[in-house]
């Protein structure tokens, strides 16, 4: 038996749409197998079939360990040896580490939960994984990366032969990514197969052995990371060559548009940071996760109290007490987490696009659905948002399209200064390119853009100037002619000055 898991001719039809069309996935024991494709390619649907959340259409076949595999829910999948670590972790924050590991399959003694045995077992598992937490700690007190490792420990403890990891690095820092990769290598050595879903190319080539690519619900191809390169993978995913991953449009750089001086946050997460950006300029803010980049812009935007600092827009000092103060001055903030602070997921595309500049959707002082629809239609076309209509509920759209809606809602307000916090996180190559081009056209129109990103190549590709933060302070600033990965990394890890 060569493969631990074989999924053949898998199709899945939802009312009105065929999400998967006869795809296949073959995974060998002890390999890390990347599953790639743009948003909407069908990766999650396939994984939900594997976990028993969806039922596949007739005609498909799944073999696990050479045996036919039929599961009806995630618990049966886990009992069979397939576990999944979700993109958005759902640990029970108020329960302890050991309770989370054993939730749903508690160790029982005479029908009563054997707490002592659970703690003992958890202690062993934690020690094996090299994690330093107490089994009786509540998860609320752990970092995201630690919670993720707990999920992995849980998967190992059920003796999973196949572990699915959906965007496991989306929420953790670079240092923690290394830790995670260490665990993945250990699992490989034990013969566990890992299905790895990620949009980050560097990770695919760093940790994966083979890659399967889907596009629009169909199987495109499979190969090893040794024989494929980044360009070939992108071509498989997008269906055409993307010669220029980071397009940069020429823009006329003018006078200073926006200046923040000596910004210090009341909670101490940002200390004495000064930045400025000119008309037509793209300023990047780099740094490790936790360096205080989002905290800086949220402070500037009036979402958190500042204990010091001043903000100037077009040379005039402005108030920064609430977001609406900044919005009035023509500043926009595309926040980091679109689901938490960006979108009303239960609302329609029209509702969301008209959220900031709702006054534009008024007729005689009253909200007009027709006008809101017309305005949002304009941006749906401009930003190439893929949606059946403006009346679609935002939650039903893919990540890239949701991100474009967040941007559209701010652009409708016609801002002069646009701050974007990780605008390309978790979205596919094609949508990323659309956003870079959009940023380029914004500065061409004479706006100023501040771009926060954790991906150094992205910052280097798009920005005119990069300010780097470390531990809440500004550790340096580099102009385009001096950009280099090493300089940025050195500044980013500039701990305690």
């Amino acid at each position: 038996m060569e493969y631990i898991l074989e999924m053949k001719n898998i199709s899945k039809t939802f009312p009105g749409v065929k999400a998967l069309n006869g795809v296949e996935l073959k995974v060998k024991p002890g390999e890390v197998h990347a599953l790639m494709g743009e948003n909407g390619a069908g990766k999650s649907t396939l994984m939900k079939i594997l976990m028993g959340i969806y039922t596949m259409d007739d005609g498909g076949e799944i073999l696990f360990n050479g045996q036919p595999y039929h599961v009806h829910n995630p618990k049966e999948a886990m009992d069979t040896g397939v576990a999944m670590i979700h993109q958005e972790l759902n640990p029970i924050l108020d329960m302890t580490v050991y309770e989370n590991i054993f939730v749903g399959r508690e160790i029982r003694k005479n029908g009563i939960v054997d707490k002592r045995a659970e703690i003992e077992e958890a202690k062993k598992l934690i020690a094996d994984s090299g994690l330093h937490v107490s089994p009786t700690e509540t998860l609320r007190h752990l970092t995201v990366a630690q919670c993720q490792l707990i999920e992995i420990i849980k998967a190992i403890s059920v003796n999973a032969k196949v572990i699915v990891m959906d965007e496991p690095t989306a929420a953790i820092t670079d240092r923690e990514v290394e830790l995670l990769f260490g665990h993945i290598r250990k699992l490989k050595a034990q013969g566990v197969a890992i299905i790895y879903i990620s949009h980050r190319m560097d990770e695919i080539f760093a940790i994966c052995d083979s890659v399967t690519v889907y596009r629009d619900g169909t199987y495109i191809g499979c190969g090893t990371t040794k024989e494929l390169d980044e360009a070939a993978l992108i071509k498989m995913m997008v269906g055409r060559e993307i010669t220029d991953v980071f397009p940069k449009l020429d823009a006329q750089i003018g006078e200073v548009m926006f200046e923040a001086k000596h910004i210090t946050r009341a909670d101490g997460k940002v200390k004495d940071v000064s930045i400025s950006v000119r008309k037509g300029e793209i300023l990047g803010i780099g740094g490790l996760v936790g360096a205080g980049r989002s905290e800086l812009v949220e402070g500037i935007f009036g979402m958190h109290r500042l204990s010091g600092g001043e903000v100037y827009v077009k040379g005039r000092k402005v108030r920064t007490r609430t977001p609406s103060d900044m919005i009035k001055e023509g500043v926009a903030l595309v926040t980091e987490d679109r689901k938490v602070t960006g979108l009303n997921l239960r609302g329609t595309v029209n509702d969301n696009i008209s959220m900031v500049a709702i006054r534009k959707a008024l007729v005689n002082g009253l909200y007009s659905q027709g006008k809101a629809r017309k305005l949002s239609q304009e941006y749906i076309e401009k930003l190439k948002i893929k949606t059946p209509s403006g009346d679609q509920i935002v939650n039903n759209l893919s990540g890239g399209n949701q991100q474009k809606i967040v941007i559209a809602k701010w652009l409708l307000n016609d801002p002069d200064v646009i701050i974007m916090d990780e605008p390309t996180r978790g979205i596919d190559v094609g949508a990323k390119r659309d956003i870079y081009l959009l940023i380029g056209s914004l500065v061409q129109q004479g706006k100023a853009v501040i771009l926060i990103s954790s991906e150094i190549p992205e910052l280097m590709g798009v920005c005119d100037r990069i300010a780097v933060m470390a531990e809440g302070h500004l550790s340096g600033e580099i102009t385009r002619e001096n950009f280099s990965q090493e300089t940025i990394m050195t500044l980013a890890s500039d701990i305690a000055v």
Partner: protein, 315 residues
């Protein structure tokens, strides 16, 4: 994702409407007297106070809140109106005082929740208990009698065959529907309930919006208190017990999501009418009030079940 709404999606969206029509037809066939003009007027009358409360509740729930205190507020403001409505002042005085009393309770709720950061359930559970105490206190625990003729006539009268209570309801419905769907304020209430953090970042004063929704609920509870005293002709400190639950039921049955951000005024109208029609219809059929409660409970659960199932199928 679907390009066109399937039949099942449309069906689930208008499910409650279908149920309502079906129920009316069944009742009309079983008891033709059900659709007599007299009984229809009666239904409107019975629906009016719950309907007014339900529209206040609609704003609160759509903004992501929840109000347990409206029943007590109705009793409290009803007592206020009864004490001032014995003929010693013009009728507008008890009306204004009842409205102000309700508004005050609503603002207290809103401030505790939006500024004090208390969970809506806890805050309004507190005011529900305390305001009931207040009603007992100012009435000495006894019914307030002696309501003037003119005041009694408010609820008893009718215009062109439509009971005046129903006219109050219709005015409230028109104003509330207009505010919810046509004003910037209304859209912002939806935005707050959909995602309060995103609303804040979008420059919306979410604190003010949340306080104002509770204020609206309180104000309408004050109006209900005024009307209730006129209708029953005395001020009863123990009246309007569990009216908040009927208001919540009307909203939920009408498709207002308890998690906020979703709900349509016409749904609340249907929800209110459905509950009233069930009670009225079962009364006409001679079914005991004990059974009525069981049926009402089943309807709530079934309506929401269909709603949830309908939505999960769409995803």
């Amino acid at each position: 994702m679907e390009n066109k709404k399937s039949f099942s999606a449309i069906f689930s969206e208008y499910f409650i409407f279908v149920i309502f029509i079906a129920l009316v037809i069944v009742l009309a066939i079983m008891k033709p007297s059900f659709i007599s003009p007299k009984n229809l007027a009666n239904i409107l009358k019975q629906a009016s106070i719950n309907g007014i409360l339900a529209f206040g509740m609609m704003f609160v729930i759509i903004s992501g809140g929840f109000d347990m205190s409206v029943g007590s507020t109705v009793a409290f403001t009803g007592i206020l109106a009864a004490l001032l409505g014995k003929g010693q002042y013009p009728l507008v005085v008890p009306l204004i005082v009842a409205l102000i009393g309700g508004l005050a309770v609503g603002i207290v709720n809103g401030v505790g929740i939006a500024i004090g950061d208390l969970p809506p359930f806890i805050m309004t559970l507190g005011t529900m208990t305390a305001v009931r105490g207040l009603a007992l206190l100012i009435s000495n625990g006894k019914p307030v009698t002696g309501v003037s003729e003119g005041y009694r006539a408010v609820a008893a009268g009718s215009i062109a065959g439509i009971p005046s209570l129903a006219i109050f309801l219709i005015v409230v419905i028109i104003i509330c529907s207009f505010v919810a769907t046509k004003t910037v304020y209304g859209r912002r209430v939806y935005a707050c309930g959909g995602n309060i953090q995103a609303a804040r970042v979008a420059g919306i004063n979410t604190t003010l919006i949340r306080i104002s929704t509770f204020a609206i609920a309180g104000l309408l509870a004050g109006l209900s208190g005024f009307l209730m005293t006129s209708r029953v002709t005395i001020g009863q400190p123990t009246a309007a017990e569990s009216y908040e639950m009927d208001a919540i039921t009307a909203c939920v049955v009408g498709g207002v999501s308890m998690s906020g951000g979703v709900g349509k005024p016409w749904g609340v109208i249907i929800g209110t009418l459905l509950i009233t029609v069930i009670a009225n219809g079962l009364d006409i059929l001679g079914v005991s009030s004990h059974w009525q409660k069981i049926v009402k409970g089943l309807i709530i659960v079934l309506a929401v079940l269909m709603d949830v199932k309908g939505k999960s199928r769409k995803d």
